[in-house]
Amino acid sequence: MPFKAINILLLPLLLLGVMVGVWSYIALKIPGFPTPSEVWSELFVVLSDPLYNNGAGDQGIALQLGNSLARVFGGFAIAIAVGVPVGLLIGMSKSAYTAFNPYIQILKPVSPLAWLPLALFVFKEVNTTAIFVIFITSIWPIIINTALGVRSVSEDYLNVARVLQLTPFEKVFQIILPVAVPFIFTGMRLSLGIAWLVIVAAEMLTGGVGIGFWIWDEYNNLNYAHIIIGIILIGVIGYILDTVMGLIADFFDYRKRGRV
């Protein structure tokens, strides 16, 4: 339908116009607030030399983002390595569930940033601290969704495993994981989204390098246009991360391969 295709392009552009209008009005009212055109031209400045490195505290935008992403993926990977086995365990064993559940319930609502000072004290180093904070951020959705996946394995499949006398190991790999994997990926997708939120705040606190630090640094430099550029870039990258995770999740979901 041509009508629809045009709308998909037109409607967001229309809204963009409205937003730029409101933004220009705000910029007019608040002295020093960067105008859309200032941000637009600044964007090319920032993106034209993304890889420059003048030592700590003054690096190109790509290096800042790269550092943040590396920390996110570091903490995220450790969270998967720890969270999936723990989730499998508490999903499969009632005793493990009973033992773990109270602590998961209590620790889950704690903002990961509350761990930051403690981590900084222990590690005495910014990078490890940030990775640790991301680990704490990511682990809960992964554990909870993995356990949920395990518990959603139907009794029938488990009976098949029992009749065939599968070993616990075979049961995990042949029956439980195929069912649980889509749930695990849902958890991972949630985790990655929150991790990307948290890293900005964590880096504002730790300083050094990273997109969160960069934004805060530009605030101190009174360079407000860069803050808006930071916001836009964080949004775009977050969107890409989520989309890619979604594609990977679909790839591993047997239900999404025309097999239902």
Binding site: N159, E170, R255
Partner: protein
């Protein structure tokens, strides 16, 4: 057909604990001997404990009192010598038809067969249920009747001593059901399996079975009557339409179910 006892259900009770210290006596003093190569069906009203008996034989549930012996060995846990065809087929949806059967064959017979023998073995059972054309399809891509045939092929492929079927055709339309009944009878003549089949359907019970086990209603359900079906095999459903023995068996079961042990709330 050998007459020695093959499977012996000896004074078996099954009690389910309910909340608050209460309990539900589902089965009381069930006694039954089943011979090798026999097809036996268990019929009874809903909730009388048919699935419970089957689960006890399968070892999927524990016996409260009494014993079940298969070739003089106590049944204490599930095992591949007692294959189960579940009502809802329970195929693994992430595996193809071939892979579903292969997985069972590899686990149970994998140590005795070479890779090519496993392939041949799997294909033999796929052919047995006429599903060669669908071997690479996923369960979600085939009909209910085909799924149930895969379930039967999977159960038979591990060469069980007893094939346990809990209303295997219950969810199917009557044409598909008739087709699968014919499949089952033909395959059983080939393989000589001992089959225990649970059903709600009077015609199915008579058509398939050497003996029909009729159960009383719960609680404390037990075996009410056992009916011998003296019809020669192979049986042809069309020819049985007006067969006297067939009609006698049918009547006996209907009499049992709707007169002696009628259930109002059905």
């Amino acid at each position: 057909m050998s007459l020695k006892t093959f499977l012996k259900i000896d004074h078996v009770d099954k009690v389910f604990p309910l909340g608050g210290g209460k309990e539900y006596v589902a089965l009381r003093d069930v006694e039954l001997e089943i011979r090798e190569n026999e097809i036996v069906s268990i019929i009874g009203h809903s909730g009388c404990g048919k699935s419970t008996i089957l689960n006890l034989i399968a070892g999927l549930d524990t016996i409260s009192k009494g014993t079940i012996l298969l070739e003089n060995k106590h049944i204490l846990s599930p095992g591949p010598e007692r294959a189960v065809v579940f009502q809802n087929h329970s195929l693994l949806p992430w595996l193809t038809v071939y892979q579903n059967i292969e997985m069972a064959v590899k686990k149970v017979l994998g140590s005795t067969l070479s890779a090519s023998e496993i392939r041949d073995h799997v294909m033999k059972y796929i052919s047995m249920v006429n599903l060669d054309h669908a071997k690479d399809k996923y369960p979600g891509e085939i009909s209910g009747g085909m799924k149930q045939r895969v379930g039967i092929a999977r159960a038979l492929s591990i060469q069980p001593k007893v094939l346990l079927m809990d209303e295997p055709f219950g969810a199917l339309d009557s044409l598909t059901r008739a087709n699968l009944q014919d499949h089952l009878m033909r395959i059983q003549m080939q393989t000589g399996n001992t089959v225990i089949i649970i059903t709600h359907d009077v015609d199915e019970a008579v058509l398939l079975s050497d003996r029909v086990i009729m159960m009383t209603n719960g609680p404390e359900a037990t075996i009410g009557e056992i009916l011998d079906v003296n019809l020669p095999r192979p049986r042809k459903r069309l020819e049985l339409q007006h067969n006297e023995e067939y009609l006698r068996c049918r009547e006996a079961i209907i009499e049992f179910l709707y007169s002696k042990f009628a259930k109002d709330d059905e």
